[in-house]
């Protein structure tokens, strides 16, 4: 399969949106484009399985290499392994759902869908890149549209949040870039042809002195994208100010760019990763516990989900930091699970906000009576978040914990125990939020006339909910995909 199709489809759709007339045209073209992309991703999955069954020699499949800037030895080099396929599927799922919940965006909708699609193209490009330079390029592509999406279509302190998110993520990218250059100039000997190509770097190996210096740059840089403590403060502001679809993409995919990047760096520089792993684990544990406690005190539904994302993304970093095979597999499962779950959460919160015009927990109540469908989505997302067996959150978290426990040593045990204990706090804030917003008597009489989800919202919810349940009930296919 030609992987460039995955990059071209969203870009062509984005351009097509610009030529659309009328709101309906824009909506349907976006939906068609993202649906085609979802089908392509499933096609990729099927082809990958088929190819992998016979080809055990190559780490990456469907490779394609084209010299981009030949003088600097920068290439457009793409290829996928199981990890990338899983992330591409996740992105495709979230994009279809994001377009479906954006049906109500009527102000400057052409620009809105255009930016959303460009954002997704950046993510797809990131997941298929094997050249570190193109990887970085696509990382940047997926930052700038976020600034505009939040700044223009956001709510609350949107300008502040957009600026904060863009600056902090840019800071992360800057660290990544320094790290990349550092690796680049230490390849191929003095004056030799330097390279950004990951498989080449992996095959030739990097000197320990170089990785010791540049691994932290790369890891922290990517870590900022996945809410590494203490660089996580863009998360609550950015997520809560963003429009629903952007929140879904931000939490569901953008934060996973970071996790994916961190993981690639660990694969690239295993010795350096081992050396720094206690620090990674320390920061991840702080993020998990501290994020959970901070969530408990939030009053705005979006802030609750954003802070809980900090805690949940801590599990990703914890799994990566533990460096055992099971823990890393758990981290990947958590990326997928958290992506779907948090997208569903933000979708449900967006639907509630559209109708009640508030996201404050204390001003909501009894929504199950007027919006049973939306409330059910909210409850499913909540239960997944607190790790109920049968939903994907449980599968991911238990894998991380089991993998973490395999790493022996007092500090690692302590980190694992603290991380496990934080689940209780998760239950506290999720059940409190659910109890106060969904259950109980109707808080305000005018909530009585509110309508339940429309067809497009239902479809988006079913899509994400089905993903959560499918992974929760039958995680083995995904598990196998990641291993191979």
């Amino acid at each position: 399969m030609n992987l460039s199709l995955l990059l071209l489809t969203p870009l062509i759709t984005a351009v097509a949106v610009l030529f659309c007339r009328g709101l309906n045209g824009i909506r349907w073209v976006s939906l068609a484009g993202t649906t085609v992309q979802l089908l392509l991703s499933f096609g990729l999955l099927a082809l990958y399985w088929k190819e992998r069954a016979t080809d055990h020699a190559h780490l990456q499949l469907f490779e394609y290499r084209h010299a981009w800037f030949a003088s600097l030895n920068i290439g457009y080099h793409v290829g996928v392994d199981g990890l990338s396929v899983a992330m591409i599927l996740l992105t495709a799922f979230i994009m279809v759902a994001a377009v479906l919940v954006s049906w109500r965006v009527e102000r400057m909708s052409k620009e809105f869908f255009f930016l959303l699609l460009v954002l997704s193209a950046g993510a797809y490009g990131f997941f298929i890149s094997l050249d570190l330079f193109t990887l970085f390029f696509f990382l940047e592509v997926s930052v700038i549209p976020k600034f505009l999406l939040i700044g223009i279509w956001g709510s609350g302190r949107k300008e502040y949040s957009a600026m904060k998110l863009a600056l902090m993520l840019m800071g992360g990218s800057a660290l990544v870039f320094v790290g990349l250059l550092g690796l680049y100039y230490h390849t191929g000997g003095v004056g030799g042809p330097h390279t950004f190509d990951m498989p080449v770097l992996l095959a030739s190996g990097l000197p320990a002195g170089v990785t010791r210096v540049f691994f932290p740059f790369l890891f922290v840089g990517f870590g900022i994208f996945t809410a590494l403590f203490p660089f996580h403060t863009w998360v609550p502001d950015g997520h809560s100010s963003a429009p629903t679809a952007a929140s879904m993409f931000l939490a569901g995919v953008s934060m996973k760019l970071g996790g994916y990047g961190c993981l690639r760096m660990v694969f690239l520089m295993p010795e350096a990763a081992r050396e720094y792993s206690p620090y990674i684990i320390g920061l991840a544990t702080i993020a998990i516990v501290y994020g959970a406690f901070a969530t408990m005190m939030q009053k705005d539904l979006k802030y609750i989900n954003a802070y809980s994302s900090i805690s949940h993304c801590g599990f990703i970093l914890l799994g990566i930091g533990m460096l055992t095979e099971t823990a890393i597999r758990g981290a990947v499962l958590q990326m997928i699970s958290h992506g779907l779950m948090t997208a569903l959460f933000f979708a449900a919160i967006g639907m509630i906000y559209d109708r009640t015009h508030t996201r404050l927990v204390e001003r909501l109540g009894g929504l199950l009576k007027t919006m049973p469908f939306i409330s059910t989505l909210f409850v499913i997302a909540g239960l997944c978040s607190l790790g109920l067996p049968g939903l994907s959150g449980f599968v991911a978290e238990i894998t991380v914990f089991m993998g973490s426990w395999q790493r022996t040593g007092e500090m690692y045990r302590l980190a694992t125990i603290l991380a496990c204990a934080s689940i209780v706090i998760t239950a506290v804030y999720i059940l409190r939020a659910t109890g106060q917003t969904i259950m109980g008597p109707l808080r305000e009489p005018n909530y009585n006339g509110l309508t339940d989800a429309t067809w497009n919202e239902k479809l988006a919810g079913i899509l994400l909910g089905a993903g959560i349940i499918a992974i929760g009930v039958a995680p083995f296919w995904l598990n196998e995909l990641i291993i191979k």
């Binding site: 203490p230 996580h232 403060t233 609550p236 406690f293 901070a294 408990m296 005190m297």
Partner: protein
């Protein structure tokens, strides 16, 4: 409601450990094991089994033997089949499940446990259970002021037990006062003010630096000439200092 009455009585007898109901057998095995390993645990178990008989029969006597306290708005009705059938199935289990030799099905290793005979060890728990039932019958068999008198006699303990030994209050204190106020609130505050303040401080610091440097690039020729001469003077001083 005779069916409910019978089933309730069976359940009470079973849980009190009266032979040959199923509760008797399970309690018997557990108490025997306790006797063999730890006498204190056995004593506590024995006492509690009497207590169980007492509180279950207190419930039974109050519900089925006394007159209804007040007129209920809706009359009691016969049980429909969907309720009576499960009730009967469970009651049969409670009555006869003790005769299934569970101990032979369960084993610590691959060797089945040998069943213990029922011997003298069965006497104390059953006696205590009967005593509990007797006290319950005395206090609650007919409506009287006897329970109130007992409560008055043990006032302190009665209130303590009535409030579930204040365990819920302890929980509420720990969660509300300690976890919410002493951990959650500071964590949220620190995040908004200190951690985020640090990040915003970086941005503000950059803005200040830029505002400070900005003045250097004023575009005024006079300023540039001034910097030029200050620079020359500075360098001259530096060179003189170096070469002498």
């Amino acid at each position: 409601m005779p069916l409910t009455h019978v089933c309730f009585l069976v359940a009470c007898l079973s849980i009190s450990g009266i032979p040959p109901f199923s509760g008797f057998f399970s309690k018997e095995d557990i108490l025997l094991a306790a006797w063999q390993t730890n006498k204190l645990v056995y004593g506590i178990g024995l006492f509690t089994s009497g207590l169980t008989a007492f509180y279950m029969f207190r419930l039974y006597f109050s519900i089925f033997w006394n007159k209804p306290r007040e007129e209920h708005p809706h009359k009691m009705h016969k049980l429909p089949l969907v309720e009576s059938i499960p009730l009967v199935i469970l009651a049969l289990g409670a009555a006869f499940a003790g005769f299934i030799p569970f101990s032979r099905l369960m084993s610590p290793g691959s060797v089945p446990e040998t069943a213990h005979g029922i011997g003298l060890m069965a006497v104390p728990p059953v006696a205590l259970a009967l005593l509990g039932i007797g006290i319950a019958a005395y206090l609650y068999g007919k409506e009287s002021d006897r329970p109130a008198k007992v409560a008055a006699a043990f006032r302190g303990f009665y209130t303590f037990a009535y409030h579930k030994f204040y365990i819920d209050e302890v929980y509420a204190f720990v969660t509300k006062k300690i976890i919410f106020n002493l951990i959650g609130r500071p964590a949220a505050w620190i995040d908004r003010n200190i951690v985020d303040g640090l990040m915003n401080g970086l941005a503000t610091g950059t803005a200040w630096t830029s505002a400070g440097i900005k003045r250097v690039q004023s575009g005024k020729v006079q300023d540039y000439i001034l910097y030029f001469f200050v620079g020359i003077a500075g360098l001259t001083v530096l060179f003189i200092y170096i070469y002498t």
